[in-house]
């Protein structure tokens, strides 16, 4: 059987806006991925543990609260700690341009900001995921 791409879509932190995450989840589903959606208000620890249990290839996070400089790197750190060394970690949401280099430095492979075409996200995952 083909190796199916499994993606964890997660909302770390406290903002309750998950429209974006749901749109992404739906787009990834339509691209043929298995999307595990964990819902709102997840701690980095919960996200990392869910990533381990689900053995996902991609962790996709969405934040609209401004807490990304803290939460994104924390998730990267914990996911790696769990031994998911190959998992592709991406982020999205209302992220100021200026914050992006530091996030990438911390191991977030790509950051998608408002207005991104969902097809671009799918394309990025297909091109960068390690199966």
């Amino acid at each position: 059987m083909e190796k199916k791409i499994r993606v964890l879509v997660a909302k770390p932190g406290l903002d309750g806006h998950d429209r974006g995450a749901k749109v992404i989840a739906r787009a990834l589903r339509d691209a043929g991925f298995e999307v595990i959606y964990t819902g709102l208000r997840q701690t980095p620890e919960q996200i990392a543990e869910a990533a381990l249990q689900e053995d996902v290839n991609v962790v996709a996070m969405s934040i609209l609260s401004g807490a990304h400089p803290h939460l994104f790197p924390k998730v990267v750190e914990l996911v790696r700690e769990k031994g998911l060394t190959d998992a592709l970690i991406i982020g999205g949401g209302v992220i100021p341009e200026g914050d992006i280099p530091a996030l990438k430095e911390a191991g977030v492979a790509e950051v998608f900001t408002p207005g991104t075409n969902t097809a671009d996200v799918v394309e990025f995952i297909k091109n960068n995921v390690k199966l």
């Binding site: 043929g32 298995e34 869910a50 769990k82």
Partner: protein, 310 residues
């Protein structure tokens, strides 16, 4: 990583990787299963099934928590449908189970049906074995939201719980022939809503008319899963059923049948694979000669069978 060895030593990542190997049918999966098999057979498998939106995931979370309070470890397989068009899936059962994520005594895995139509995925049984070998005391298998005929869960579970909710139609006849036949017990969720008592009555009426009934009459509990109300009653019903089937040999019969079905399934899969290998590249030719009526499928199959069994 030696996946099987690490899994048996309690490594959670190895358990996760094992299930991936099983699901994706990696070559090493057979070898992993071979090593895990001797360590299976200890867990009790509880199936939870019911229509979409009945509250299966919420109930699974609450039931798992109740077992944790008793000091038992829990594995959960939550199945959601795979799109037949894109092969993609939204696996959303975890949303209801977030309070369990950080409990080390619980392991939750979501699975897409990947083309299977019986309410589970073809690999669910093997994933259950992986959790079993890992040492989980209780394994809860939550099916996709079912309609009338997705009854594979009875083959996988020791005890099957059918979750129903009030307000899904005024006549239970509509779902009578399918999932209502497989419940070892019933639970009416969202029982704070209007119509809960009526639903209990309707289930009872259906059970009254069941001519195949053994001396086990499926009990019906009323639950409000989101608030955890009635979960103790449901659990008591499960325990009652468990001691009943342990006592009268039914559990043994169920597991014997399961072992046999499984053996036949694996054998068929092996034969199918062999057929594919043996006919590789020749299929088009066969079809052509059939279309030209040079031969017929019956003789062809007879010849091929002879060739394959050599």
């Amino acid at each position: 990583m030696d996946i099987a060895k690490e899994l048996l030593a309690g490594n959670r990542l190895a358990l996760s990787k094992a299930i991936t190997a099983i699901e994706n049918e990696y070559e090493e999966a057979t070898d992993i299963m071979r090593q895990l098999y001797p360590h299976t057979g200890h867990a009790y498998v509880l199936g939870i099934t019911g229509p979409p939106g009945a509250g299966k995931s919420t109930m699974t979370e609450k039931v798992a928590k109740a077992y944790r309070d008793q000091g038992k470890t829990v594995g959960i397989i939550a199945v959601d449908p795979t799109s037949p068009f894109t092969g993609g899936a939204i696996l959303g059962d975890r949303i209801r189970m977030n309070s369990l994520t950080l409990d080390e005594g619980v392991f939750i895995r979501s699975m897409g049906t990947r083309g299977s139509l019986g309410g589970l995925s073809h690999k669910t049984a093997d994933a259950v074995k992986a959790l079993d070998a890992f040492g989980k005391d209780i394994i809860i298998v939550e099916t996709v939201g079912v309609g009338q005929s997705e009854v594979d869960i009875v083959k996988a579970a020791d005890t099957t719980v059918v979750v129903l909710i009030p307000g899904m139609g005024d006549d239970i006849q509509a779902i009578k022939a399918g999932i209502l036949e497989i419940g070892d017990l019933f639970t009416v969720n969202k029982s704070d809503l209007d119509g809960a008592d009526k639903l209990v009555k309707e289930i009872n009426m259906m059970l009254d008319l069941d001519s195949l009934m053994t001396d086990w009459r499926p009990p019906i509990s009323k639950v409000v899963a989101s608030r955890g109300e009635g979960i103790d009653l449901l659990l008591a019903d499960v325990e009652k059923h468990r001691s009943y089937i342990e006592g009268n040999g039914e559990l043994n019969r169920r597991r014997t049948k399961r072992a046999k079905d499984e053996l036949l399934d694996i054998l068929s899969a092996g034969i199918e694979k062999r057929i594919k290998e043996k006919t590789e590249g020749r299929m088009d030719g066969f079809v052509e000669s059939l279309k030209k009526r040079e031969t017929d499928p019956y003789s062809l199959v007879s010849d091929l069978m002879g060739e394959m069994l050599k």
